[in-house]
């Protein structure tokens, strides 16, 4: 049983990998950016776990900036993805412009909350 489970997992992972290779590059860039943001958030959480949450607002702003920018990047990916029927008429530049604008606003708030 375990072997079949193991083999199934491996098969699943391979199929995911091959399917992912088919995604366009732009989407891969956005995925990479999301991964980077989450990873940064994780590092901050680990730091907070070590030293305690004394400037809690700083911690929150740091984590929230990472998470917020990741969320905005996900929105961008959705809007840019050609397979997505909803956003067929939305030019990708417009999506990108929204992304930049939202990021700038987010980062203003983050900077204010950072203390």
């Amino acid at each position: 049983m375990a072997r079949s489970t193991g083999k199934d997992a491996q098969a699943l992972f391979h199929s995911l990998r091959s399917a992912y290779a088919a995604t366009p590059t732009t989407l891969k860039i956005i995925d990479l950016y999301v991964g980077f943001a989450v990873f940064t958030a994780l590092i901050q959480v680990v730091y907070m776990a070590i030293v305690g949450s004394f400037p809690f607002n700083s911690f929150l702003s740091g984590v929230l900036s990472c998470v917020g920018t990741a969320v905005l990047a996900v929105c961008l990916r959705i809007q840019v993805n050609k397979d997505n029927k909803e956003f067929k008429d939305l030019p990708p530049e417009r999506a990108f412009a929204d992304f930049v604008l939202c990021n700038l606003v987010l980062h203003l708030v983050i900077m204010n909350f950072l203390g």
Binding site: Y47, P92, V100, L114
Partner: protein, 761 residues
């Protein structure tokens, strides 16, 4: 200086002469008397005014005084107007007595006190009689060794002698005092007095009283006198004795005869009818021991009793043959009855006083007692067998005189001195004789010494005290080791060693002297303990260090008891119960919990290191007050403090939190930057390129500006975090944002049209 009614010199001696000068100058003097600290009395001499006025310019009254200047012998015949409101003192060349005289005063316990020095005139405002309040006698004035104030005495006596307004009676008293005290008289004084004495003796109009005093002075000064003067006097005195019917006449005449007999060593001078004289004097006596002054006068006095006894003794000594023993026995009975009327103070002193108040001349207890004792001593010296007088009463009389101190009055002083001299010759009262002369060899035994609390056990019994001949005191050599601190009573008994002198001296029996033996008391094992009241077990116990300064804090609630225990031991180790020990807390608790101070007070008369100390604090946790418990009294509200400024509050800043070490923070900073690099590396691996970047000039510029705009906004954010505030940031952001919007729109629309052209193509 004012002439008061109760002045010693002038009130009784209306015939006193006034002082003369030797140059016609007049001195006006003022003196003042005051009671110093501790009841000592001091004289002071305030102002002297020397009026250099020749005699003829004085007023008629003073001129009449001044006319006597040249003849000092006239002094004694001049009558001073008693209504003179101001006395004029005159300098006399006997100024040697006015030099500085120092005297020291001693307290009862032997300590020296203030010294009185300076040159003064005497002061006569002192009360004449011994009528000071009784507690004056108990004050620690100089009284135990009353004759140390020689300077003062000398001043007082010599001052009025100096004034030469004395009568012979006063001269006699003063000189007798000098004689007893051993004070030297100056030659000029003696000469002047002798002159007056001789004048009196030679004059034919002298009264027996004058003769008596003149002869007394003569006996002291030993002025040379001729035999013829005495012959004349003797015959006149004998006539007086025969015809006299008043006590004073008897007294003076008999006394004069007796003095003549002593001074001229005439052994054949006798009274013509001694028995008759004796009987007539005795007839004036009364049944209660007192005497009347004369047969016409029904009043009797104790003073007169003394005078009568002296007169009787004179009769006996002048008698040619033995007086009937029966009569002498009758007199002895009178003396015994007289002693029954003796009065006493509470501290054991005895004195005689007059009972009646309507006497012509009310003598004080001092004069009365002294006259009685004088009479007694004179009488006992002439009769063959001894008088059996109660020894304690004699002691009491002696104590009375010693306890007086220095009386203000010269007459009283004379009485005191004379009496003590009589007592000295006849009785001995203390270990040192009354006047301080050397005691004959005595054995002084400390009969018993017992502590005041345990009167039955005596610690020392019958220890003989050793005599130290240099100091003339008796001391106890070695105190037994069991003499602990405390209050003891030493009982002394003195016995004369020499048996033949036992009849001469009477010793006081069993004098009691309280003695406090003091010492350091050790306090040990001090503990303060809180007990549980139900079980009595000790909950917390702390040692107290009473010698040190530590304080102790103990907590208790209302169910527990507080107990403080310590042991006190004397230097010898016996248990000691102090006379006073108090543990102090606050008086009423009012059910207020909190902190209370504890004080410990331990004290006793014999403890040299009594202490009053703060021990520490007890925290009391008291329950809620019941319904009707009394509230603590409301604190008095000062109207100013209610609306005034309250206490200042200083803000206490929040203590900063602990921060992580700097290296850790830096490490994590680096760690946080790492994903960015990971992102860039991933991008490169994905094969990202810039092919879509517009190549023609204008769009390229805009593209570049677009990127720069984004970078500028991010830079603004960094600045905002570092130092800018939100408002400037927002202002700048507005401009930048608008700018960026425009540029971005241009760029992106260019890109969109380019990609649409590519898609359609």
């Amino acid at each position: 200086m004012h002439l008061k009614k109760n002045r010693t010199i002038f009130s009784r001696r209306l015939d006193s002469p006034v002082v003369a000068t030797n140059g016609g100058s007049v001195i006006k003097a003022k003196s003042r008397w005051q009671i110093g600290p501790h009841g000592t009395r001091s004289f002071s001499f305030i102002a002297v005014e020397r009026l250099a006025l020749p005699a003829h310019t004085l007023s008629p009254r003073s001129r009449s005084l001044a006319t006597l200047t040249d003849d000092p012998h006239q002094l004694f015949k001049y009558d001073l107007n008693p209504d003179v409101s101001q006395v004029l003192f005159f300098w006399i060349s006997i100024s040697a007595l006015l030099t500085s005289l120092d005297g020291k005063c001693y307290y009862r316990n032997g300590q020296e006190s203030i010294t009185i020095s300076g040159a003064y005139f005497g002061d006569f405002d002192l009360p004449r009689r011994w009528d000071l309040p009784s507690d004056f006698r108990l004050s620690p004035i100089c009284c135990s060794r009353p004759f140390q104030t020689r300077g003062r005495i000398l001043r007082q006596i010599s001052s009025f002698l100096l004034l030469f307004n004395f009568s012979l009676e006063e001269a006699y008293e003063a000189l007798r005092t000098f004689e007893v005290l051993g004070i030297e008289k100056t030659a000029e004084l003696s000469k002047a007095i002798c002159k007056s004495v001789l004048g009196t003796l030679e004059s034919s109009s002298s009264t027996p009283k004058d003769l008596f005093h003149a002869l007394g002075v003569n006996g002291i000064l030993k002025c040379s006198s001729k035999e013829e003067t005495f012959e004349g006097i003797i015959s006149s005195l004998q006539a007086v004795v025969r015809d006299a019917n008043s006590l004073l006449d008897f007294y003076y005449s008999i006394g004069s005869l007796r003095l003549i007999k002593d001074q001229t060593s005439k052994t054949d001078l006798h009274l013509s009818d001694a028995e008759g004289t004796f009987r007539s004097i005795k007839a004036l006596s009364q049944s209660d021991g007192r005497w009347r002054y004369s047969s016409n006068n029904p009043e009797s006095s104790t003073f007169a009793a003394g005078i009568a006894l002296e007169a009787l003794s004179g009769v006996v000594s002048l008698a040619s043959s033995e007086i009937d023993q029966f009569m002498i026995g009758a007199v002895k009975n009178d003396i015994v009855k007289l002693f029954d009327s003796i009065e006493k103070y509470d501290d054991g002193t005895f004195y005689f006083d007059e009972k009646l108040v309507n006497m012509r001349e009310q003598q004080g207890p001092l004069a009365t007692t002294s006259s009685v004792v004088r009479g007694l001593t004179a009488f006992s010296s002439v009769i063959t067998e001894s008088l059996n007088l109660p020894g304690d009463k004699i002691l009491g009389i002696a104590k009375f005189f010693l306890g007086i101190g220095i009386p203000g009055d010269t007459k009283n002083f004379f009485d005191q001195v004379d009496l003590l001299a009589c007592l000295e010759n006849n009785r001995q009262v203390k270990v040192n004789t009354v006047l301080g002369s050397h005691a004959p060899p005595l054995t002084v035994t400390l009969v018993r010494a017992f502590s005041s609390s345990a009167r039955d056990n005596s610690i020392i019994e019958n220890q003989e005290l050793k005599f130290d001949p240099q100091d003339a005191v008796y001391f106890l050599d070695d105190l037994p080791a069991s003499f602990d601190v405390g209050e003891y009573i030493f009982v002394f008994k003195m016995l004369v060693q020499d048996s033949e002198q036992q009849t001469v001296y009477a010793t006081g029996t069993l004098t009691q002297v309280p003695i406090y033996v003091t010492g350091l008391i050790k306090i040990e094992n001090a503990k303060i303990a809180v007990l549980d009241s139900d079980l009595g077990s000790v909950e917390t116990q702390k040692k107290l260090d009473l010698a040190g300064e530590s304080t102790v804090s103990v907590s208790a609630n209302h169910l527990q008891k507080l107990r403080l225990s310590f042991q006190m031991s004397t230097p010898l180790g016996n248990a000691f119960k102090p006379h006073q020990d108090f543990l102090g807390l606050v008086e009423k608790f009012f059910y207020l919990s909190g902190r209370y101070d504890i004080q410990l007070t331990v004290g006793d008369a014999v403890m040299e290191n009594s202490l009053l100390r703060e021990i520490g604090y007890v925290e009391l946790d008291l329950p809620e007050p019941p319904e009707n418990a009394s509230r603590p009294p409301p604190q008095p509200v000062d109207p100013y403090t209610r609306y005034g400024p309250k206490a200042e509050i200083t803000h206490i800043f929040r203590a900063p939190e602990k921060r992580p070490p700097e290296e850790l923070s830096l490490a994590f900073l680096v760690l946080t930057i790492l994903p960015l690099f990971g992102f860039i590396i991933g991008l490169l691996r994905l094969g990202v390129n810039l092919k879509n970047f517009p190549t023609s000039a204008v769009p390229a510029t805009f593209a570049v500006i677009f990127h720069l705009g984004i970078a500028a906004v991010l830079l603004l954010y960094v600045l905002f975090w570092l130092k800018l505030d939100l408002f400037t940031t927002l202002k700048t952001l507005c401009f930048l944002g608008v700018f960026l919007m425009v540029v971005g729109h241009r760029t992106l629309s260019h890109l969109a049209s380019a990609s649409a052209k590519l898609k359609s193509a």
